[in-house]
Symmetry: C2
DNA sequence: ACATTAGCGGAGGGGTGCCTCCGCTTCTAC
DNA sequence: GTAGAAGCGGAGGCACCCCTCCGCTAATGT
């Protein structure tokens, strides 16, 4: 992902405006995580403590707001692919996948976005695959992952999983473990 | 599940009314499968080719409509637990779980409903567990399923999975297979 | 301190969904 | 064939959300 995103949204210059911009982004992250891409924009503005007009000035369309939140998380995710570079093949893949399922807005969004078509989604998907797929094929050549599974399968499986509701974190971990174990050769 | 549901919704007597009732139920099943519990009631009435008033006469609340659809599918699901009774432990469990993920309205709904609280959801959940859990523990005593996993884990995992979007049926099957393989002992 | 202007926020018009109510239609029993 | 009742459906009031517009507020530079 290049330094400049495809979205024409820029952090404003004036101090108060910057505060509002950041508050909106934080509120949007929560709202999207909670309600998916259909979250109410008026609610987001309310949560951020700003008027609806301020939201629209910073993010003229719902897409702009969503993409900005989404891009931020994807960028972090891609970053962590470097952090795991030194680990053994399976550990690297597992760590990255666990990180993958831990992003709040992303988890709900990715699975809504996986099929939807837009320049940004496509470029984000490519980026995720660019950093994630090598981890997978590497683990496969090392015999740590069964050969009949694709990276795309895994991404979809995990994004489905994380959008489900769990009793508690322990259960979430247990289920994630089951799914990850399913990736390993018998 | 007893013959009489907890919901006070009865199929009407008059021929035309019965036609409408059934059309509404079918339309609702589609709509709930497609949009989740938030599906538009006016849209359901439109799809069924009846006025909104007719919908409300038959199903005074959204809950009544949803529960009627949901109950129907759960009843069928419980029924199939008997069909698999003769199979070996793992095969019985696997068949039932595959059936579980194949219900249209149910799949999207269950995962929305798993946490939500209502008399009907609770009784359906109990019913699913009553017929499904024995299949699981049976498979576990036979050594066909790892011991550190609960039936609840499995249900949540699968309902999460089925609410995800897949490229095609082949992928859906592949991912389901991975998840099921994760249930087996190493 | 003040002028400039970026930035603010919410009123308001349009759209959609929820649900009620009631005059009209159609079925059914006789 | 007819009367009565059961059922129909959509108009309309309310609530919420989307998005635009513009008069006001306050941050900034000098």
């Amino acid at each position: 992902m290049s330094a400049e995103s495809p979205v024409a949204v820029r952090r404003p210059q004036r101090a108060d405006a910057r505060r509002n911009f950041d508050a909106l982004l934080a509120a949007a992250r929560d709202a999207f995580a909670e309600h998916g891409t259909d979250a109410s924009l008026e609610d987001i503005a309310r949560r951020a403590g700003v008027g609806i007009g301020t939201l629209y000035r910073n993010f003229p369309t719902r897409q702009d707001l969503f993409e900005t939140v989404y891009l931020g998380e994807i960028e972090q995710l891609c970053q962590t692919a470097e952090d795991v570079a030194g680990l053994p093949p399976w550990d690297a893949l597992e760590s990255w996948l666990r990180r993958f399922v831990s992003y709040a807005a992303t988890k709900r969004a990715i699975y809504e976005a996986l099929n939807r078509d837009s320049a940004m989604f496509r470029s984000c998907r490519e980026e995720i695959y660019r950093v994630g797929e090598p981890l997978m094929t590497h683990a496969q050549s090392a015999g740590a992952v069964r050969p009949d599974v694709t990276f795309d399968d895994t991404v979809r499986m995990l994004s489905g999983l994380t959008s489900a509701g769990f009793r508690d974190d322990a259960q979430r971990d247990r289920v994630l473990q089951i799914a990850l174990d399913g990736l390993r050769p018998r």
